[in-house]
Symmetry: none
Subunit: 210 residues, 4 copies
DNA sequence: AATGAATGAGGTTTCATTCAT
DNA sequence: AATGAATGAAACCTCATTCAT
């Protein structure tokens, strides 16, 4: 499945800059990122970043949009043909997991963005996220109406899924570092899709189902 | 109940520095934080930071230890006199929530620390966190043995609780910003203790109970 | 004859930085030198020093290499075509003197470097100095074999020539300062080449000859 | 033989400060020396330095006077009862050597002082040094009159002795560092008194004698 | 006399941004 | 579109000196 990062008719230079920027920002955050490092990884001259994109803030905004925008549409696509609310909820969780796995920058970037109070979050992206929560509300509501789900707070369910996933994902390097950790924690894969997503799916569904 | 931030026989100056540092680091992260700003908020000459504590890295490590260390002991204290695993689990969740509410730096600092792959996480603190997960494992295991819980992955349960709470907490300012958000999301209090913690408690227990 | 300071294909900016650095370091030593002052004298933005060369230590090492490296080769060139050991020794002394006169930074930089136990002396430069002593040993040995010199300790001879010259040279400003000094001391030129070098030459040769 | 460093009725604290200062200044020079380090080595509180002595410049001046002042008198004492100019000259050299050996700070401090153009040299000390040169002139003149010495430039002779000795002495740690140096250079003791002083003595006398 | 804490000026280094080519 | 060099502001850190006790 293709990922939205660097889509469209961007020049190859711009694409490389954005890709490099995404990786540097995701590793170091906005203030920790160095424009020099981004240019180096992109294999382009630093001045090109300013020429093609703009200053650091502009660049960051661009990255954010690429990395955590456009998720809603993707999930919507996956869900629209499904009837059963339970199955919809399962796909919702799974798609989320897939997205986080396939775009390794999503989790750290989002975490930092949240931690900083969304200081750099473009409103477009906020709206996109809201659309996702809304979608979930629709699923849950439908389930309640059909008598298979109990009443819950959709936003909380969303936060639990999202929070668990990004925390799980980003904690992988930390867990890998300490060899005194038991295998049950340390060896857990850093992929969410698969076992972890399944487990989350089950927990959420058990919590939500009548 | 007293909170661990700046306990012990530290001089008043050191306490003020650590407090100021905690707030600045939690707002801006390591690279975003300005030593000048920390000194200013502490009402202290900048050189005093170096005199009493050391450089920025050392200061950050100190803050981390103060902010997210010593949580294990606190939770253990709350739980040790309880018999019933279900009640233990509930108290576990509630205590966690209380801690996050009372120490507003915990959530953002921890998120960023996780997002950066624990680059600055002192091992002591990592061990402390592990102790917490271990405690949870004990609770869940006891519940399984007593026939009231189903088998689950303790670390995942921990991550769901933790992830949900810190994400919920830190997302408050973002949610507050957009007035096009429905009250159900926007007006949700930024406190976790109370409704939110209750809801999380219920979800987790429903997911875990036979 | 061209002097080694700032030779090669260095950019004009780098050359200016190194020249300014040499003069400031030779006046004030490593700790006393101010990067600001070096930038100012070089007519260059301070950041350029870091861009082109590196930090203060690196800059100092570069200066040391330029200032007191490459002396051996120069002396070797002057001596290789001479047969007579006595004449060789005379040229050795004279060339040394010329070098110290023409590169006013040599003497103070070397003195301070020695005084500090060679804390910043790059090994390359140490080897270069050793080569010089070795050359002198060759000359003295040849003289002994030809029956015109007595046995001496080459390193000591070297130290006497070198020590006398750099001490003489650097003491000039001090001598000039006190007008109660007799002309025989005070007015002595600060140039070594000429009278002073002749005198040293004669003393050394008288001491060494059978 | 007692050395002049910290003589008189100075309090024990002052003595310790001056001793510590001498060692730090001799290792690091004026700008490189840290008042903190001096206080630490003296085992006294930093403020005491200002209370008892004054600022860094004052402290340095004090050290200089103690370290390289009072040499003239000592040499005069050693020489005054000797008749023979040749023997006088030998004792002159030997006493110098002893002084440098016994006061390890003399050589580096003097070198740096010379290298910096005597920026911090108190005039008293300059006069003391002049007295030494004058003494040497007397010896040489006497020798010439008695028909045993040839005409030489006294200051140059002085510089050769002094320069050789302090350069030899301070170069010891550098020579010790490089194990590729031949034993003839590397293993040479760092003491001057004895072999080295003898050799210098002989060279100078051979150069000076008719 | 002595101490630990405090101060402010200034030093080194970094970094986003722009310029000239 | 692209580059290497340049800039200035600001960040971090140090250090001589002084203060309060």
């Amino acid at each position: 499945m293709d990922l939205p990062l660097s889509a469209g008719k961007k020049s190859v230079t711009v694409k490389r800059i954005l890709k490099a920027a995404a990786s540097v920002f995701s590793e170091s955050g906005f203030s920790g990122a160095r424009v020099d490092e981004i240019a180096k990884r992109a294999g382009v001259n630093k001045a090109m970043i300013y020429y093609h994109i703009g200053d650091k803030e502009k660049l960051y905004a661009e990255v954010i949009s690429n990395v955590i925008g456009n998720t809603a549409e993707m999930i919507e696509g996956k869900i629209k043909d499904i009837r059963d609310p339970e199955e919809k909820l399962r796909v919702y969780v799974r798609t989320f997991a897939r997205n986080i796995d396939d775009n390794p920058q999503v989790a750290p970037v989002m975490m930092r963005e949240v931690a900083s109070g969304g200081k750099h979050l473009p409103e477009v992206v906020a709206r996109d996220i809201f659309r996702i929560v809304n979608m979930l509300r629709g699923i849950l509501k439908e389930g309640v109406e059909k008598g298979i789900f109990i009443e819950t707070v959709p936003f909380l369910i969303h936060i639990m899924v999202l929070g668990a996933m990004i925390t799980y994902k980003t904690s992988a390097p930390i867990r890998a570092r300490y060899n005194w950790l038991p295998p049950g924690i340390r060896r857990l894969d850093d992929r969410i899709s698969g076992n972890i997503a399944d487990e989350i799916e089950n927990i959420i569904l058990k919590a939500v189902k009548k």
